[in-house]
Symmetry: C2
Subunit: 214 residues, 2 copies
């Protein structure tokens, strides 16, 4: 094999293992899933799996980071699309709450995808960060990245340039905006009835109610 | 002992055990805490502790339910106070986002209290509901109660009767509003820098940005 084919092969194998681990972790959590479960799910040899991930901890870290990287990519795709649409000549100014809700809804749809809702992994990961400091630092860095994206979105407010969040309130606004999908994921899995579309409608209703009276 | 004294005694003992369990669970999570740890922390005999809680699962359920009951009581106290203030003759109309943020901030302050922040238990509890259906149903019922309170608050909007959330959007608004503190608790423990005050400022900034242009 040429080095290039070998690298592609390795990457495909790694992806197969991550897919298998993600499915098991989303269903049963990290503690109830063994390396043997993942090996069986992936249909590979133990040696092959351990060759990529020397321990379950390494696999947990990789699955969580991969999931958060997907969220960031989905966010970028959704917000780029909306920014472009809002920049079209003659485009109507968009409602900020609806834009925020629509972006979040798109990201949450991507996570639920086919089969098991991989956003279940988020609940296991947050608990795990309380006893795994390396994982906590890793997840924190991704959440801070997400806040940075949200900060950029609300300060630029491409859908309505007359109403950006001022710089000195932008960190708090990003925190509040990131809280919304996180809290919706928790309600989705614990109560069973929450999704991005309901969140988007709720944010829009609150924004209308909270608007300063003329 | 008269039956009354005996009942008070039992209640005090039960509270002692719950306090000890809450402290250990908040620090180490449910899985890393044994009944022996709780017994040592409470300074009681094993027989005494098992007399109140026959298993760790029973203790986990009781601690989680007690924590959620405290949140509901704190919410009721904070919202009653704000409703009363807003009803004073000549009171200025309050900003809805600031009211929501203030209530959440008050509840979160109560949870963090002295010593270990008991809101850490929330992260363990959400993960646990994924494999403990009885706990999930119990936590879901409390979250639905909380949503009901938030629904009442935003539809009555006592701080500004001219801007209630309409009935048909109230369920979604309550979901979005409950998502905010949940998502802030996660960020508080994972990133380490989020609190109710920052959330309150962030919600107010978003509301100003999202207000319909005149």
């Amino acid at each position: 094999m040429s080095p290039r084919v070998s690298e592609e092969y390795r990457e495909a194998r790694r992806t197969e293992i991550l897919d298998a681990a993600r499915a098991r972790f989303a269903r049963d959590g990290f503690h109830q899933t063994s390396m043997d479960d993942v090996i069986r799910e992936a249909g590979l040899s133990a040696g092959a799996v351990y060759g990529y991930f020397p321990s379950k901890t390494a696999l947990v870290h990789a699955v969580v980071d991969d999931a958060l990287a997907r969220v960031l990519r989905a966010f970028d795709a959704a917000s780029a699309e909306i920014t472009q649409t809002a920049g079209d000549p003659g485009a109507e100014p968009l409602d900020g709450a609806e834009v925020a809700g629509a972006v979040v809804d798109r990201v949450m749809q991507l996570l639920s995808g086919a089969g098991i809702d991989t956003s279940r992994i988020a609940l296991f990961a947050w608990a795990e960060t309380m006893s795994d400091e390396e994982l906590r630092v890793q997840v924190a860095a991704r959440l801070v990245e997400l806040r940075g994206r949200l900060r950029g979105l609300v300060t630029a407010a491409p859908w309505n340039p007359s109403a950006p969040v001022p710089d000195d309130a932008a960190d708090d606004a990003a925190l509040a905006l990131l809280a919304a999908p996180i809290g919706t994921i928790v309600q989705r899995h614990v109560v069973g009835d929450a999704d991005g579309a309901a969140l988007a409608r709720g944010l829009a209703a609150l924004a209308r109610s909270w608007a300063p009276r003329p």
